[in-house]
């Protein structure tokens, strides 16, 4: 799978859409990263849903990421549930990268293999 990392210099309003947790103090809200990735883990958990994934970097090396989404009840209001993702699924995912570096991010949206788009709650 060809990895594609796009660091977009799009200045986004740091609107605190989350009830709490990862906001502008943890993530760079001015950047978006988009990856073609394989889901390795999907935890419908508190305080926030977590998506684990593997994606190749520009040199073809597989890198593991953990992406923070929103709280289960907030995501449920947007149609998510505990079986919305399965390990092994191929997705295109977009997130804000960490301010501190490391392979973590704040979920924005994803597109499944069948073209279905899923948004942050």
């Amino acid at each position: 799978m060809k990895a594609k990392v796009l660091a977009l210099g799009v200045l986004l309003m740091a609107v605190p859409l989350f009830a709490h947790h990862g906001g502008a103090s943890l993530y760079d809200m001015s950047k978006e990263v988009t990856l073609d990735a394989t889901v390795t883990e999907y935890q419908w958990t508190n305080p926030h849903v977590e998506i684990g994934l593997d994606a190749k970097d520009n040199k073809g090396k597989v890198r593991h990421w953990i992406i923070e989404a929103n709280s289960p009840p907030v995501m449920a209001n947007k149609g998510w549930n505990r079986k919305s993702l399965q390990p092994g699924e191929v997705i295109k995912i977009t997130f804000n990268p960490s301010q501190r570096g490391g392979s973590v991010g704040r979920f924005i949206k994803l597109v499944k293999a069948d073209g279905k788009e899923m948004l942050r709650g």
Binding site: H21, G23, A24, P73
Partner: protein
């Protein structure tokens, strides 16, 4: 025959009236005579009760509509909320995040999560899916002589036309009114005016009266939309889940053992 039918009808109406009277609380109006607030409600998930700055973009003291005292503005500037222009999630002093304290009220209604109103003749209950917490508003009775100091305070209410007016005291002073961190003391006296402005919309108007914290009473407002799918989920905020989150996302070493997976 006609007389027998007439007396049967009178008797039936009498029985129905008796049953209706029994279902009404002696101190309150029957639920059929007051507006129906019951249902599942979902708010917008604001960050601040300041009507001028509901998403908490402005620094404390610049909102323009919060009459801080020197005590409360000093408190605001010393805090580290997890939202707003000075947010610092990693080192937050937000008691609901740092210690997994209950949100208290009205903050419990500020999450973008649902709550249910259950309405009876003598009490109205709010049931929040966040932390599965609840609050009772007792109708048509005075406050306790010596109210407890509690996370959600003591609330009594009465109907004024189509509006439920709720008087609350006895709030624990460690809670924040909202995620941005507006403080209060144990002397907080909160008045709510709750009205179903249309079948789909419930509006809570708040007046916060707390002389040590605010130079004069000030107002906030929360609006909720009706959800008709009947779904109430749960999210329980635990220290163990929070430490696990911080370990994974902030690379922090847990200060106490994290609950192991079974």
């Amino acid at each position: 025959m006609r007389n027998r039918l007439r007396w049967s009808a009178v008797w039936l109406l009498g029985i129905l009236g008796f049953i209706s009277g029994c279902s009404a609380n002696k101190g309150g109006k029957p639920t059929s005579q007051v507006p129906d607030l019951s249902g599942i409600w979902l708010g917008k998930g604001i960050q601040s009760l300041s009507p001028a700055d509901p998403m908490g973009h402005k620094r404390p003291g610049t909102e323009g509509d919060i009459p801080y005292t020197p005590w409360s503005i000093a408190r605001m500037k010393a805090q580290r909320p997890a939202t707003g222009p000075d947010q610092d999630f990693a080192k937050t002093t937000d008691p609901a995040l740092r210690y997994a304290d209950p949100d208290g009220y009205p903050r419990a209604s500020i999450h973008p999560m649902r709550f249910k109103i259950v309405q009876t003749p003598d009490s109205i209950y709010q049931l929040w899916e966040y932390n599965k917490s609840w609050r009772q508003i007792a109708l048509n009775r005075p406050h306790s002589e010596v109210p407890d100091i509690s996370w959600f305070g003591e609330s009594v209410g009465k109907w004024e036309g189509d509006t439920l007016v709720v008087d609350s005291i006895g709030f624990k002073d460690s809670t924040w009114l909202d995620p941005i961190g507006h403080p209060h003391t144990e002397d907080l006296h909160m008045i709510e005016r709750i009205r179903r402005v249309d079948p789909e919309t419930l509006v809570f108007n708040f007046t916060f009266d707390d002389p040590k914290a605010y130079a004069k009473p000030w107002n906030g407002e929360l609006t909720f939309k009706l959800k008709t799918d009947g779904i109430m989920t749960e999210t329980i905020y635990t220290i163990s889940d929070e430490l696990s989150f911080r370990q994974r996302f902030l690379n922090e070493k847990p200060t106490i053992p994290i609950r192991p997976s079974p």
